[in-house]
Amino acid sequence: MSLTMFSLKKSIWVYHLSAGSCNNCDIEILDCLTPRFDLERFGIMLVGSIRHADVILATGIVTRKCLLRVKRVYEQMPAPKLVVAIGACACTGGIFRTGYNMAGPFDRVIPVNAYIPGCPPKPEAMIDGVVKLIQSLNGKLPAKKVR
């Protein structure tokens, strides 16, 4: 097991990227940090800069104005680049998929490793999703995908 993988399993630093969501998945992500769910006891921490992050928590359809910025944020992320799409919008486009301003969903823009559906998913589901993602890696870093 590489050192990166070892530290990733112990403490996952997440970055929250909202690219045209309704705010609901976003406040549920913040909810995970507050006393009821308290993610920090598992070592999961929300960080302010993408350069410190292991996992992107992506919410929202990718709007056309966000498109380039989302790509740039992803490029600035250090390896292993893990992305979790949270909510119906991030997974499929949800109710907004027929709109003219939709450039997503997320997996058409950047590689996505895990999907957490729901509108919005419950905080328990989000925690479960991130933990399952790390377990599914099974000690190996994901293969590099090129888009």
Binding site: H16, L17, S18, A19, G20, S21, C22, N23, N24, C25, D26, I27, E28, L30, D31, T34, P35, R36, L46, V47, G48, S49, I50, G60, I61, T63, R64, K65, C66, R69, V73, G94, I95, F96, T98, G99, Y100, N101, M102, C119, P120, K122
Partner: protein, 400 residues
């Protein structure tokens, strides 16, 4: 020259402080902010246009997803608009249930704001407290409506689910507990000398400016403008229960916090009275709207952030021809032009947060139209093309 000393501080669009993408440009001279520019549009999801392709019931689900925090305000406003169009009066029981859901939402939204404001000020204990005591309210929502957020409780003509008789004691108990905790948070926040020093006299919006910028909701009420749709044009059960409009005169960030915190108690008061009435008022929770007539309807609701206005137009078919939304932040956001300049950079974050901005509600798209022909002349792609052409032209000029 003064303008030479100006520095632009960009904040955003993806910034740890904000949940939503938005972009502020602060023009500063030294520590002082002299001007501010706000760029929005990162969240624009074409909701009004999608709404025109949906049928009347589906539109309610769509407008619910305009915003996740005021996610029952938009459905209430849209239902009001549709009922105005169809000329339908909803049953009394449905009125009380609507008010209960609307006020519970105000409780959770105001607590959320108090928490975020604490976080912006570096008072993280307040953040954790407020969000901890917000959880029981979300639990009530899950109990009553089936989901923590996005309750899908409203339908044109009434409400979707009933509040059962046996649930009422449980709701009252949670509400009593929540009120005690909110009282504690209120006392802790308002008596704190550091918070007072930090917030009093900061970001003052005068009454005159509030009227000039057409501010609504707590932003206007904190500046002494007693404007509240629930009193001015009552709908649902707001004229059937006793409550007061909370106003403050100062107009600073502290006054806005006071208004929001005290409004929580008014909300609790309204919910209690509505729950009491629910025990007595029996009957249907919805009337069926058989056909949408030709015409137009308007509806509004006092969302936690201010007046939400919805307009629908029908040609008598299954779909609306036009759905128009005006969210409170749309009018509250420009007030930052009056409040932020003159303050220090450190205060800018909390002043911008003080209007409780919700950008997902506000997003608009710009198109340049020919005034006479009504032909679209410029849209997003066109503007990008123009800009690229200019670069190419410049390159040629410079011989590169």
């Amino acid at each position: 020259m003064a303008s030479d000393k100006r520095t632009i501080i960009p904040i955003g669009p993806f910034h740890p402080l904000q949940e939503e993408p938005e972009f502020f440009e602060l023009y500063v001279e030294g520590e002082k902010v002299v001007d501010i520019d706000v760029h929005i549009g990162y969240n624009h999801r074409a909701i009004e246009q999608i709404g025109q392709r949906m049928n009347w019931d589906q539109v309610i689900f769509l407008v619910e997803r305009i915003c996740g925090i005021c996610s029952t305000s938009h459905p209430i406003a849209n239902c009001n608009a549709q009922e105005d169009l169809a000329g339908v009066e909803i049953p009394e029981r449905a009125k009380y249930i609507r008010s209960i859901v609307g006020e519970l939402e105000r409780l959770h939204s105001h607590l959320l704001w108090v928490g975020l404001a604490g976080h912006f000020l570096g008072y993280n204990t307040l953040w954790m407290w407020a969000w901890k005591y917000r959880e029981p309210i979300l639990e009530i929502f899950e109990h009553v409506t089936g989901n923590r957020n996005h309750y899908a409780m409203m339908r044109p003509g009434g409400v979707k689910r009933d509040i059962k008789e046996e649930d009422i004691p449980h709701l009252t108990k949670v509400l009593d507990e929540a009120e005690r905790k909110i009282a504690m948070v209120t006392k802790a926040a308002l008596d704190d000398p550091v918070l007072a020093a930090r917030l009093k006299g900061v970001g003052i919006l005068t009454q005159e400016d509030a009227i000039k910028y057409c501010a609504v909701g707590p932003t206007a009420r904190a500046s002494g403008v007693a404007i509240d749709v629930r009193k001015d044009d009552p709908y649902a059960a707001y004229d059937l229960v006793e409550w007061n409009i909370i106003t403050q005169e100062a107009g600073d960030v502290f006054a806005k916090a006071v208004v929001r915190l005290l409004e929580c108690f008014e909300s609790v008061k309204i919910i209690r009275q509505c729950l009491d009435k629910l025990k007595k008022v029996k009957g249907d929770i919805a009337v069926k709207i058989k056909k949408m007539p030709h015409g137009e309807g308007k509806g509004h609701h006092e969302a936690p952030r201010g007046e939400t206005f919805h307009y629908v137009r029908s040609d008598g078919s299954n779909n609306p021809v036009r759905v128009k939304v005006r969210a409170p932040t749309y009018v509250n956001l420009p007030t930052c032009k009056a409040t932020v300049p003159g303050e220090s950079v450190a205060d800018a974050a909390i002043i911008l947060a003080a209007i409780d901005p919700c950008y997902c509600c506000t997003e608009r798209m710009m198109r340049v139209m020919d005034k006479r022909g009504g032909k679209v002349e410029l849209d997003g792609n066109e503007l990008v093309r123009l800009s690229q052409e200019k670069t190419r032209g410049l390159r040629k000029q410079l011989g590169l």
